[in-house]
């Protein structure tokens, strides 16, 4: 296996994508206060997982596919989706990526290889394996990336799919973003491996596939680890389970409340439920976005001035996404009855 370290240009690309996800989601979060009522239902942010998302997707090539969960804003952003269409979707507007039919939890962008998102924990894992079967039949060396959380590894869908994927040597990489919490339940409370002090990657052993744990806050480490798994999959050797350890910097999602109650992001569960302020603050100090900026500036890959210029440009891009989404009309009522059947 030889995964090349990304060159300077590519490292700057990785940083830019991480920042784009962060700036986009900061505006999703801010919309609850800046534009109350514009976002309905439930949103879930990837802040803290940007390095894992971009590091994983930095190997993506045309013909590959990615599938993810309801925490799905980051992936299409990296794969080339228009943030204006993504924000319009989250605002339920006609110009939304999915015409306002899916919302925050169901972003899909087939033309960019983002096949779909299930809002049901673990349910999308077999879908990724199915797309990988398609890739295996086509024999073009395409791979599928399946993103899900640590909570999903307690679902039958996870275990059934890993078994079949390994048995059939499907070209799929299972990227488990382990943020340590299933909503307000800690891994040690729900996972036998975690309770025994083992990494969750050991679950791969039950299915005769490699299981590796990587620091998901380091994009270059993820690039390396997922890159090796992708090479393995492309060369017909089958799937890998990558446990990417991240820390979710926001609460699981915005508050769940009936209509009329203003929605917002509550305090992180580590503090609100478990009173572990130090744990959370340590995670904030390790925030992968500013950290990678520091790494690039320190290594001379990126000047401070250039980093600021990128930040300004990204902020402008994402503010334009909000402005666009606010101006986009609601979909025509008849559209609720379209696309039920093909």
């Amino acid at each position: 296996m030889s995964v090349q370290v990304p060159n300077a240009e590519r490292q700057i690309w990785i940083f830019t994508q991480m920042l784009r996800i962060r700036e986009f989601e900061e505006r999703v979060k801010r919309s609850f206060t800046d534009h109350p009522g514009v976002i309905r239902g439930h949103t879930h942010l990837a802040d803290g997982a940007e390095a894992s998302i971009v590091g994983s997707l930095s190997h993506f090539r045309k013909g590959d596919a990615a599938l993810a969960t309801y925490r799905c804003h980051g992936y299409p952003m990296v794969l080339g989706s228009d943030p204006r269409a993504m924000m319009a979707e989250i605002f339920g507007r006609a110009d939304g990526l999915c015409k306002g039919l899916g919302g925050s939890m169901h972003l899909t962008d087939v033309k960019n290889g983002f096949l779909g998102t299930s809002g049901i924990v673990g349910a999308g894992i077999p879908h990724a394996a199915g797309a990988a079967w398609a890739a295996q039949i086509r024999k073009k060396g395409d791979v599928v990336l399946s993103f899900f959380g640590d909570g999903a590894s307690k679902q039958g869908a996870f275990h059934e799919t890993l078994n079949i994927a390994s048995l059939w040597k499907l070209p799929v990489v299972f990227v488990m973003e382990n943020n340590g919490y299933n909503v307000v339940t800690t891994s040690a409370q729900e996972d036998a491996n975690a309770a025994a002090g083992e990494p969750l990657a050991v679950k791969a052993r039950a299915y005769a596939m490699p299981g590796v744990t990587v620091d998901g806050t380091d994009p270059l480490a993820v690039h390396q680890t997922v890159g090796e798994a992708i090479e393995r999959a492309r060369s017909g050797q089958g799937p890998t389970l990558v446990e990417s350890k991240v820390y979710r910097l926001s609460a699981h999602g915005n508050i769940i409340a009936p209509p009329g109650v203003p929605l917002h992001y509550p305090e992180h569960e580590a503090i609100a439920v478990f009173g572990k302020r130090e744990e959370y603050e340590a995670a904030l100090r390790g925030d992968p976005v500013p950290r990678f900026r520091g790494t690039l500036v320190n290594s001379g890959v990126l000047s401070s001035a250039k980093a600021n210029e990128i930040a300004k440009q990204v902020a402008g891009e994402m503010q334009a996404a909000v402005d666009f989404a606010l101006k986009s009309p609601f979909p025509k009522l008849q559209s609720a009855l379209e696309n039920i059947y093909a």
């Binding site: 596919a65 599938l67 939304g96 990526l97 999915c98 015409k99 306002g100 039919l101 899916g102 169901h106 899909t108 962008d109 087939v110 033309k111 096949l115 779909g116 299930s118 049901i120 349910a123 999308g124 894992i125 077999p126 879908h127 990724a128 394996a129 199915g130 797309a131 990988a132 079967w133 398609a134 890739a135 295996q136 039949i137 599928v144 039958g156 869908a157 059934e160 799919t161 078994n163 079949i164 048995l167 059939w168 379209e338 696309n339 039920i340 059947y341 093909a342």
Partner: protein, 372 residues
Amino acid sequence: MAQLPFIAAVDAGIHQEMRRDPSVLYFGQNMATTENDQFVKEYGHDRVRVTPISETAEIGIAIGAAMAGFRPVIELYMAEFMLVAMDQVVNEAPRFRYMSGGQVKVPLVMKAGFGFAAGWAGQHTGSLTAMFMGVPGLKVVVPSTPADAKGLMATAIRDDNPVVFLHHYLLTLETGEVPDGEHLVPFGKAAIRRTGGDVTIVATGWMVHRALGAAKKLAAEGINAEVIDPRTVAPLDLATILKSVGKTGRLLLADQAPRHASVTAQIASDVAEHGFSSLKAPITQVTARDTTVPYSEPLEAYVIPDEARIVAAARKLVESKAPARKATPARKAGPVRKAKPAKKASPRPRAARPGARGTPRRAARQRRGGRR
């Protein structure tokens, strides 16, 4: 035309489509385990695979393969096994096209047998059709003849949506004429199995044949029943049913499923809403009793409707506004009971039920004041 058993006709439909379209896949449990398997021989292991007992992954993998451009057919064996993976059947497969704003198609067929009322007790005998028919995005197919089994399977595979294909286990070895070569039966187009002007009987699957048997007996009494087989319940050909009811003014709905939230309840509601002015009598439903299917043979027979119950209900329905009709003598149980031995001539693969059939049902009918 060839004479084929029902189950071979289903296979013929799959072969027809696998030969013409390399994107059709066929997989499931306990199939394709040797190189002698006909599907493996013809299409190879890329397209034909055996799976472990993992319904969630099987259906989920089909969804992913479908979204990636293939047309999977999943061999699920029994409809109940879909319940293990209900999320994938109801909340994944039919949702993706819609939630993506029409970006993806999910063309797949979930092939499952149902209704195995042959001593399989509570968990392998269900008629679960209604659980699927109300799910937007799903199509539900219930063939009753070998010809339709082939043609509807082929149409299901070509359809760009998830299709639940429910074949009745008691029809497995029934033979019938099946067209050679390419054969497609359209969805949403009911078959009028028998024409008649006195009462419309709507039934699906195995119950179509019970309805036809009943119609024959009714004809001997001077009652002409029209028997309609919707063939697909989603989409449902309500127009054909309404047209028939417009002619007969009487509707009898026969189903092997229990009554609550059933296919018959749905059709009854649709006809009451859209065909009320045609009705000369209340709509009648002949269904299984609202219970789990019991193991013991006479109890199973008591729970599941048969020809005699259809005949009795049809007769009552026709008489309800036509008291002058010369059917009165036939209301006695005698002639109905006498007609029973003829059923033994039926080649369906089901054990005869000597002596046990009529008694508890008749007793119950008396208890219930003849309501059923």
